[in-house]
């Protein structure tokens, strides 16, 4: 998966360039494997890793959301543009309080060596 440093740089650049009233970019990465058996034989043994960005923009009280896993500057900027177009065509959400303010998110370590063994 991509490094946190590279992702942060990519997202911060897109945030700077976004013309929306508010913009949120969430990068999610995963690394997943699955083994499938049938008739006492492994017939599908698969792995995937992916990182994608979910773009949420606010225009007034209208919200648009787009996702992409093409993590280059141009593609993320295009996703922002699409999200803005969706927002402009979406109904207002009069009770929407705005995007969450900056706050320190705790780092979570969920790996347990004992249960992984």
């Amino acid at each position: 998966m991509r490094s946190t440093k590279d992702l942060t740089a990519l997202l911060e650049g897109a945030l700077q360039r976004s013309p929306a009233d508010e913009t949120e970019l969430v990068a999610r990465g995963y690394d997943s494997a699955l083994t499938r058996f049938a008739g006492s034989t492994i017939h599908q043994n698969v792995h995937e890793d992916d990182t994608s960005v979910i773009v949420r923009v606010v225009v007034g009280k209208r919200i648009g959301v787009v996702s992409t896993n093409r993590l280059d500057e141009t593609s993320v900027d295009e996703a922002v543009t699409r999200a803005i177009e969706i927002a402009k065509n979406s109904p207002e959400e009069p009770d929407f309080p705005g995007l969450p303010k900056a706050d320190a998110a705790p780092s979570v370590e969920s790996y347990s060596a004992q249960s992984a063994a």
């Binding site: 998966m1 991509r2 997943s32 699955l34 083994t35 499938r36 058996f37 049938a38 008739g39 006492s40 034989t41 492994i42 017939h43 599908q44 043994n45 698969v46 792995h47 995937e48 890793d49 992916d50 990182t51 994608s52 648009g64 959301v65 787009v66 996702s67 992409t68 896993n69 093409r70 993590l71 593609s75 996703a79 699409r82 999200a83 177009e85 969706i86 065509n89 979406s90 109904p91």
Partner: protein, 480 residues
């Protein structure tokens, strides 16, 4: 990317892989849903990555990643090989692939209007008109209009030297009106339930559905259903309309003919099949009028493509011929187990999914005459259409379907509307009772974009060409 993947195939050959293939896939999906005039869903999702499959020591390994650097693609290849080696240590791994020609080719869906260049405003205007039309009927409480568009760009290479590039574009939509009065609620859809009809075409297909023109009628029918009589319980003749018949073919034919399912690989999830291999060439699946083919070459069929995800050309295969079961949906791995070659039905729903045997377009071939002529030829029965619910056992033998609407047929004429029509049957008995299939003028390929299979789950886009048909002595209604 092509050169990188070809180098990766050479790398895997040098590492001793018996076979390997790689798919670079870039997919774009847009979903728009408007409910009672308000945009409820407007989602755009883009995904790109590479998936590599390796056959080593008679076992498969698969790995995939959205990181497309040369280092990452090499890592994915090494991982796929390591997974294959691990798989080979368990059980009796003896996978042997059939022989296929090396292919260097490209394929693109025929598109007149790229759905992704149609302004969002235009699409929302269409959806808004639909909601307006449906809600002209007072009892319509929920009016839903939706459109979906897809584009998939694929590059396939394998260690045998094949190189295939494909661009598949798909589009479509649908509307539904739910009328409510007291405790009663009824839904009517157009052109089909569960989000509508889809094709491997551009936005010209969505426009051709002319959704707004059908909106008022759809709303009115939903309200009429509130007052309609309940479908009686009896054994009778039924004439099934195209949309419902498409799902009948899907559930009772399309799934049990997936050869991997026959061999038990979906037993823990999607189920098995009553059409075991001893029945190939001997099972009387239906009456002599029933001819079913798997055809990935149909222009515009939602299950159409140039090459499957093993590089096997799209083709047409007989599945049921004059009622006799004669063919499965097969892969390069499963076909040799019954002495045959793949008929090109391996499909993955993304770069990060291993290909599985999936339906392409599973079509009931047309017969003769029009629907009006068939109704006129029917003394007593029910015309039934538009699926509302389905239930079928895990072997695909015993089924029950609920539909949105039915009409009584008396002395060759459509009579009173009936609500909550359901029918049930056992697959070969049901198809054995088919005594009439309407002709080409009534034939349409319905597109179903949501066929589920596999773990991790995959959704295939499949088609079913059908024309309305008649079945005798079918149990309808609910016994009270």
């Amino acid at each position: 990317m092509k050169e990188l993947l070809k180098e990766t195939m050479d790398f895997l050959k040098k590492k001793g892989a018996e076979y390997a293939d790689a798919r670079h896939v870039r997919g774009l999906t847009e979903v728009l849903v408007m409910k009672n005039g308000t945009l409820e869903t407007a989602s755009v999702a883009e995904s790109e990555g590479v998936g590599i499959r390796v056959l080593n020591d008679g076992a498969w390994g698969f790995s995939s990643s959205s990181m497309l650097t040369p280092e990452s693609v090499r890592r994915v290849a090494e991982q796929a090989l390591a997974i294959a080696k691990a798989s080979a240590k368990v059980g009796d791994s003896t996978i042997v692939l059939d022989g296929q020609d090396v292919v260097v080719d490209s394929y693109s869906t025929e598109v007149e209007e790229d759905p992704f260049t149609v302004p969002l405003d235009d699409k929302l205007t269409i959806l808004g008109s639909c909601c307006d039309g449906m809600t002209k009927t007072e009892q319509v409480a929920i009016a839903t209009a939706s459109m979906m568009s897809f584009r998939t760009e694929k590059l396939f290479v394998n260690t045998e030297g094949s190189e295939i590039e494909q661009v598949i574009t798909e589009a479509g939509g649908g509307i539904s009106a739910t009328a409510i009065e007291g405790d009663e609620r009824q839904t009517r859809s157009y052109p089909a339930s569960f989000r509508g009809d889809y094709a491997t075409r551009g936005f010209e297909f969505t426009r051709s559905l002319d959704l707004p023109a059908h909106a008022e009628r759809t709303g009115a029918e939903a309200a009429q259903l509130l007052k309609a009589d309940e479908c009686p319980h009896k054994k009778t003749t039924i004439v099934i309309g195209g949309q419902q018949l498409a799902l009948q073919v899907h559930e009772s034919c399309g799934h049990p003919i997936e050869l991997d399912r026959v061999f038990g690989t979906e037993a823990s999830y999607a189920g098995t099949s009553f059409i075991t291999v001893d029945k190939l060439g001997s099972l009387q699946y239906g009456s002599k009028l029933v001819n079913i083919v798997a055809d990935a070459t149909c222009p515009g069929g939602l299950g159409s493509f140039g090459y499957d995800d093993e590089g096997v050309p799209a083709q047409r295969s007989d599945i049921v011929k004059n009622g006799l079961f004669v063919g499965y949906l097969m892969s390069r791995e499963t076909a040799p187990r019954i002495g045959l070659r793949s008929n090109g039905t391996m499909r993955a729903d993304g770069w990060n999914r291993i290909p599985l045997i999936r339906m392409t377009n599973i079509n009931l071939l047309p017969g003769e005459g029009t629907l009006d002529e068939l109704i006129a030829d029917t003394d007593d029965g029910i015309f039934i259409d538009s699926n509302k619910s389905w239930s079928i056992d895990q072997r695909r033998l015993n089924f029950q379907f609920g539909c949105e609407i039915a009409y009584e047929i008396k002395n060759g004429k459509l009579g009173r509307m009936l609500k909550n029509p359901v029918y049930t049957g056992i697959t070969p008995e049901f198809w054995g009772s088919c005594d009439a299939i309407t002709g080409e003028s009534e034939w349409h390929i319905w597109g179903i974009p949501s066929c589920g299979k596999g773990e991790p789950g995959q959704a295939a886009h499949v088609g079913h060409g059908v024309s309305p048909a008649r079945f005798r002595n079918v149990e309808v209604g609910v016994k009270k």
